[in-house]
Every structure is written in C-alpha cells, then in structure tokens.
Amino acid sequence: MLAAQAVAQTVTQEDLLRTTSEPGNRGGKLVIAQRSEPRTFNPVVAIDQNSLGVSARLMGDLIHINRATQKTEPALAKSWTVSKDGTQFTVNLRRGLRFSDGAPFDADDVLFSFKVYLDEQVHSPQRDLLIISGQPTTLKKIDNYTVRFTFPAPYSAVERVFDGVAILPRHLLEKDYQEGRINQVWTLSTPPEKIAGLGAFRLKQVVPGDRIILERNPNYWKIDAKGQRLPYLDELTFVVVPTQDAQVIRFQAGDSQIISGLSADNFAVLEPEQKSRHFKLYDAGPGLEYNFLMFNLNDDTEGRLPEVARKQKWFRDARFRQAVSAAIDRAGIVRLVYRNRGAAIATHVSPGNKAWFDSSIQPQVRSLPKAREMLKAAGFSWKADNTLLDSSGQPVEFTILVGSSNTQRSQIATLVQEDLKAIGIVAHVVPMETRSANDRVLNSHDYEAIVMGLVSGDADPTPDMNILMSNAQTHLWHLGEKIPATPWEAELDRLMQKQMVTLNYQERKKIYSRVQEVLAQQLPMVYLASPNILVGAREDLGNFRPAIIEQYTFWNADELFWHTPAGKH
C-alpha cells in the first residue's frame, strides 16, 4: 500500500513526496484505451470520466484519495491542521515546486483556483462540494505557503473534498478568468505549451478523434524510495476505442496495455489467454456501481399521466416494493449477468465500500411466500391463473424501462421480468436509448419503473446527499420535493445532514448505518447488484494496483513502470 509520507528534501530545496511503493525503471510508454475522446482538458468544467481521466494526469490536488486504501493522503499539501470546532482547516503547501512549464507554485495559485471553483458564474461541478449549508467556504492566505480554509459549519468529509479539485496555474489562466472565459480555455485544440499543471504528465500532442499523447512532467513532486523522480513512464497515450468489445480485441492484440471496466463475460473470454498473451487480469471486488429497480414516486403525474398515476397507488405502498424486492432472484442476477463477479446488495452501499458498508444489513434473498404475504397485507389478491389484482380488481401490470446502451442492465430487466411473473405481475421491458430514458426520469417523469445504475463518486457518504436528500437535484424517485414527502424521507434528510457535520467516524458510521437500514426497509430503489471491478494489464507492468474508485487502473499512473527494459513497448 502506498502509505505516502512527506519528506523534506533539503538538497533540492523542494518539498518532494517520497512514495513507499516499489521503485521501478524509468522509460517506456503506456497506451490506455478510452470509450471516447475527452471533451476538455479544463478541470473547471470537466465532468465526464474520459476528460477527468486525462485532466487528473495533468493536474495536482492538495489532498488526494488513495484509490487502493480509500483513505486521504497528502499531495500538494504537505500537512494540515483542523481547528477544534472543525470549521478551520489550515494547509501547509510544499515549497519549491514548479508547474510543468517551469513557473513556481505558491499559495496564490491555491487562492486563485478556489476563487474560480467558488465563482457562481463559472458553474464548476466542484462548487457544490465547497458549499456547506448554503454558505461558501472562504480562504485566507497566511503566508506564501500556508492557506486557511474556513467552513461555515464543521465538515466531516473535509479532507476528501480536496481530491480532484485541481490547482490551476494562475500565471496562465488569471487573464482568461478576469475576462470571463475560464470555461472555454484548454480545449482539445489548445496548443500544448499553453497548458500546464502540477500533475505527473504534461500534454504533448493531440490527434483529434484518435489519440492524446502525454509526456513525463520533469518537475513532478514525487520521488521513490531510491530517490528517483516520478513518473517512470516517458509517455502516456490515450486512444479512442468506442466499444468494450473493440477494446478487448485491441488489448488482446497488445495495442493497449491496460483495460478497465471489463464485463464479466469479456473477462471470461480473456481469462484463459493470460499466460499465452502475457497479460494479467484482476478482480478488484465489488465496485461503487449499484444497479436498482426504481418505481416512479413523483407526485406531478396526476392528470398529466393518468396511467402512471393509477399505478403509483401500488408503487407508493412500501409493502408492494418490499414484495417486488422479495420476488427478485438477486443471486440469479449475480450469477447470470455478472458470472458471480458481483455482489447482491441491500442498499446503495456495496461491500466494496470498506469504511461504510454495514454487513448486518443483508440483501433480500428470494422468497415468494414473503412476497405473497406482503402483497396480501397490502390488499392485493390473485386470480385463478395467478394474475395479481389490486384492491380494486385491476390486474397489476407495468413497464420497466431500461437504457439500451448497457447490456448488463438489459439482462437484469429481463430477469426481473421473469421473476415478477412468479407473483403474478406482468412486467413489460422497454429498452430505450439511455439518454431518452434518463430524460424521462429526470424531466418528463413519464415512466412506471426503470432499471438503472449509478456509480458513487467516492466511498464517502456525503456525495450521496445528491440522491438521498429530499430536495436534492437528483432525488431520482421523487424529484422536486419541497418538503419531505414521507416520514422516512424526512428521517433520511435529518440523518444525512447530521452525518455531514459529525466529525467522529464511529458516530458517523452509526448514523450512516441507520440511513442504510431505512433505505433497505423503504426501498425507494429496489437495490439489486453491484458488479465487480474487472481490469487487466500486461504482466510486466509494475505497481499496477487496480482500485474500485475511478480511474480504476491508472489512478497511480505516476508509479507505473515496465519491468522489461524501456523501449520494448
């Protein structure tokens, strides 16, 4: 594990960070396939994984989450202190560092960066994390290498917030910011010399639609145990390979040396070839993706969508949702869709989330008697041919929407459909282009049920407030709640607010366990399964440590190296 330590280097007068991972060999190139081209290199506006994956290699952050341990560790911040009340956070920066273009780094760059992120006009996605209870975080420069952050309230996830908040080069971007153009800078057509950061690599060349080549940043601030400056690789190339099947073929052929996000099916195809083709596959365990069946609980359907509104009488009854949950064969989903490389889940917190998973909340095992009992209690009955009827004698029939771009989710929907037949529910699976399906969930609310998947951005509970808070932007099952629509949603609101300002981990964990309990009981989403993170790399790639947080395979690109002499790849 990379338990990084900060070690002051008096010789170079740079505060370099000494890593504890295996020292490697300099040189060589690494090719990584991406589904599509990054939209931008600009960390202020990047939201898609393709852009973030590249921009995180170019840029540095103050405190970084180690993807392998899921814990925070120092990055550009050499150390930090928290005031007793938890509202003041003082960061000591590394001294003597330089951006990849040679310009020096100091507290002014940090102040500038956060000014940009906090600016409402900029609409940066990082802003949400820096606003606490509606109040923005404020910054104060103590000296050239010390910055104090003041939060409006104690903030439990404070260290994690800094991960991914890239420090921007003030000398390059201040003018653009003042002229209100910060959103438009650093596109794919920007000349590489106009882009600089504190990341392990810097931009060398962009071949539009095909590849992006990064080269080693000679000013990077990490060294290994032997004192060699990281990164080891001379070049990092991102190529565009739009489908996973094509990525598998490219990987088999050795055109790319790392593969991420493999489906269990493709994993099984590659598995027997590991020896002969000199690569190694890794199963990193359940990731932070959770797939679920969600019913439409929005309240704006009355009159506008009479058919949906009629069925919502069933959906709103927790016993109906519990019955559906009990009828679903999660083990079957894990076996057939994920080939046992996945986990059945009770809530959105997958077993892969080491710090917050509560093993006492077990996923529902399929039980038709329980499902029938629940339905009976909720006033449902059955016709002689096993058709389920509601209390007014109407047959229970609904459609399950599913985005067609994800094969696994379509398979889940087909399995759920068959499972529900056993309790007399007729479900129709409707595959739909993923964007249209999402649009129905988020905007028109014209759906009955949907099989969806989400990926938690971080192992920490706080980002989940985006979904769980009743007034959140993506409170998917019931959008636009002004006040919590149900008592349990009110409880979730209270609990989530409380965990955000609770600094003690044990207490916070207790609160979050209660959140999971409520979710498993009320099932606003019928949580189904989490797939394992399945990846692969050439066997002679050193320090390859796949993780379950993005970017699964190359989050530690600065430490990756080739065991074989450079130039072979």
Partner: protein, 361 residues
C-alpha cells in the same frame, strides 16, 4: 433477383419445355416450406420448452449430447441424455453426470401452451424429465432453450415476411390494376408513387418510420407495426408488374370483346384482368417473402423489431453481436443460419413459378 418482365409476352417457343422438371422442383420447394411453416406453427407442441423458460443454472449451456451408448459403452435403443451440471464458477463449463441418465420421452408433460389460441395442452412432442435438460441447440445467456426459441422465433420472422408480402401484393394489385386500367393521371400518380417507394432506400426508411413510432408498445403491436412498415415499403414492384400485365391485357381480343358487350371497367378488372395477374403476383410474392423475412430479421437484430422476451430470428442473432458470445458460444449463431434453407426454398419456388409464367402465357 428474379422479376417478371413487365407484361412483355414471351417467345412462344418456351411453352411446355421441361415442365416435369418444374413440377418436381415446385413440389419439393412447396413441401419443404409447408413443413417448415407447420413446424413453426406447432412450435409450442414440438419445442420441449417455452420460449421464456429460464433455466438459470444452465446459462450458455452447449447443445445437449444425445446418446445411444452410455459411459460404460453399452448400447441403448432409446436415446438418452445425461444430467449436466455447471461447476459453480464464473466460466460457463458444464460436465455430464454419468450416474444420472435420462431417457428422451415422447409426448411428455411440460409448460402449458396454446396453439393459435385454440388448443390448450401441456403435452410436448419430446422432452426429458428433470433434473435433466434437453437443449438441442444449447441455451442463451438466460438459460433459455435455443431450439425452442428458434421455432417460436420462426413464427415472428416467417409470418412477418408472409403477411407483409401479402399486404404489399394486395396493395400492388389494387393500385397497379387501377393504374393499368384507367391510365392517364391516375396511372401517372400511382406509378410515380410506386417509383418513389422503389427508389427510396427501404432500410433507412424502415428505421426512420420505426423511430417515429412509440417505443412502449406491446409485442403484438410491435409485430404488426413491423409488418405494416415492411409491407408499406414493398408495394411498388408488384404494382408496376400488375399495371404492366393489365395494360397489355386491356387490348387483347377477349377483353375488347367484353367491352364491346358493354362491360364496365370495374367488371373487366375483376372478371378478366385481375385473374391474369395472379401468376405474376404469386411469383412476386415468392420473391418478396424472403426479402421481407430478411427485413424483419434486420429490424429485430437492430432492436427495432419485436422485443424481449419474445424471440425472432433477428433478436436472437443480435445476442451474437457481443464479442464474448461470438468467440465462445457457436450455437448462438444458429439463428443466423435458420433463414438460409427457407430463402433457398422460396427462391427455388420463385424461379419455378417464373419459368411457368413465361412458358404458359
């Protein structure tokens, strides 16, 4: 492709030549097609499983081997299978259990079904008793029997082609007949429309039309839609053919004679002209049906046709789009082969009919 030449009378020298050869080929093709269609209509009886029965412990199981010799090498008159088990792993590998043979039974009890909504039964032509399984063509990812699904899928694919061809033939007959009979502006309008439909790339039109229609429709509606869309696009050629036949027949002596006795246009069309077009139309149908079957297969392959869990040859083959299926499970490609003999039979039929038409007019 064979298209009857529009109303041009053939040289009389051909008449009667090789007629016995035509006959046997015609019979062969007809019987074969009849057999296939019967098989597909009776799918529920012939298939050992329903199209949606999921044997979840047998996902991607290879075709079950049917044995006459047991593991000890002893011969049995009645064919049998062994119970297969999946070594509970992430790989889909199945082993035979030599200690558990299961004889293939005929007229066994199984899933309940109905044929054409009339006959209800639970008896299937053949099957094996649980825990054994009889997957003649292996299973798909959900553990559904490919053989059974192929038969059920044929219902959709074959009849979509048939109904759509009938639809376009009837439309073609009406529009072509009227155009040929009345001529003038009516003829011009109808034929320019037909030409537009012929020149429009049908495949893109199908996709475009399908895109305008609602996605959330029942499978039956989806089937009818596909049929209507395919049939709508295909009426141009038969219409032109019929028009040609009518146009030339209009001037023939018996028609002129009938007209001389005061027969109306409608009467002439019905009594004298339409019957002349039937052979041409029949040939045209034999050409169009395989085209339309293929159109349905393509639409379903692209996910625009009939949807899960209902099978069609197209949506079954669509699963083989996934790389892992393509390289690992050869039996998933069988739905792609299914149309081949059907198409051959239809083409043979069309060719024979064509030769008959040209030799008998």
């Amino acid at each position: 492709m064979i298209v009857a030449r529009d109303g041009i009378e053939p040289p009389p020298a051909f008449s009667g030549l090789r007629s016995t050869n035509f006959g046997s080929r015609l019979t062969w093709a007809l019987w074969f097609l009849l057999a296939i269609h019967a098989l597909v209509v009776l799918a529920a009886f012939i298939a050992p499983y329903s199209y949606q029965t999921q044997e979840r412990l047998h996902s991607y199981a290879p075709p079950t081997s049917v044995h006459f010799f047991d593991c000890a090498g002893k011969f049995h008159l009645r064919p049998f299978v062994y119970v297969t088990k999946n070594a509970e792993s992430s790989r889909m590998e199945y082993t035979q259990d030599c200690t558990q043979p299961a004889r293939i039974e005929f007229f066994t009890q199984g899933d309940e079904y109905s044929i054409l909504g009339m006959f209800h039964s639970t008896r299937h032509l053949f099957g094996v008793a649980a825990p054994a399984n009889l997957f003649l063509m292996g299973t798909d990812g959900f553990g559904r029997d490919q053989f059974s699904r192929l038969l059920y899928g044929g219902q959709v694919s074959l009849f979509a082609g048939f109904v759509a061809a009938a639809f376009s033939a009837v439309t073609g007959l009406l529009l072509g007949g009227i155009a040929g009979m009345y001529g003038g502006l009516i003829d011009d309008v109808a034929m320019r429309m037909a030409e537009i439909f012929i020149t429009v790339p049908w495949f893109y039109l199908l996709i475009a039309v399908r895109a305008f229609l609602p996605l959330q429709i029942s499978p039956v509606a989806a089937f009818l839609l596909v049929v209507a869309v395919i049939g709508m696009v295909g009426w141009g050629r038969p219409a032109r053919l019929v028009r040609g036949v009518v146009l030339s027949a209009r001037e023939r002596n018996f028609v002129l004679a009938a007209r001389g006795f005061g027969a109306s246009n409608a009467y002439l069309l019905r009594r004298h002209l339409m019957p002349l077009t039937f052979r041409v139309l029949l040939t045209q149908m034999a050409v169009l049906i395989p085209q339309f079957i293929l159109a349905e297969v393509i639409l379903s392959f692209l996910g625009l046709g009939i949807g899960e869990p209902f099978p069609s040859w197209g949506n079954m083959l669509a699963q083989a789009q996934q790389y892992h299926v393509l390289v690992s499970y050869w039996w998933m490609l069988l739905p792609g082969l299914a149309p081949v003999p059907v198409f051959l039979a239809y083409h043979s039929l069309a060719e024979t009919l064509q030769e008959r038409v040209t030799s008998n007019i």
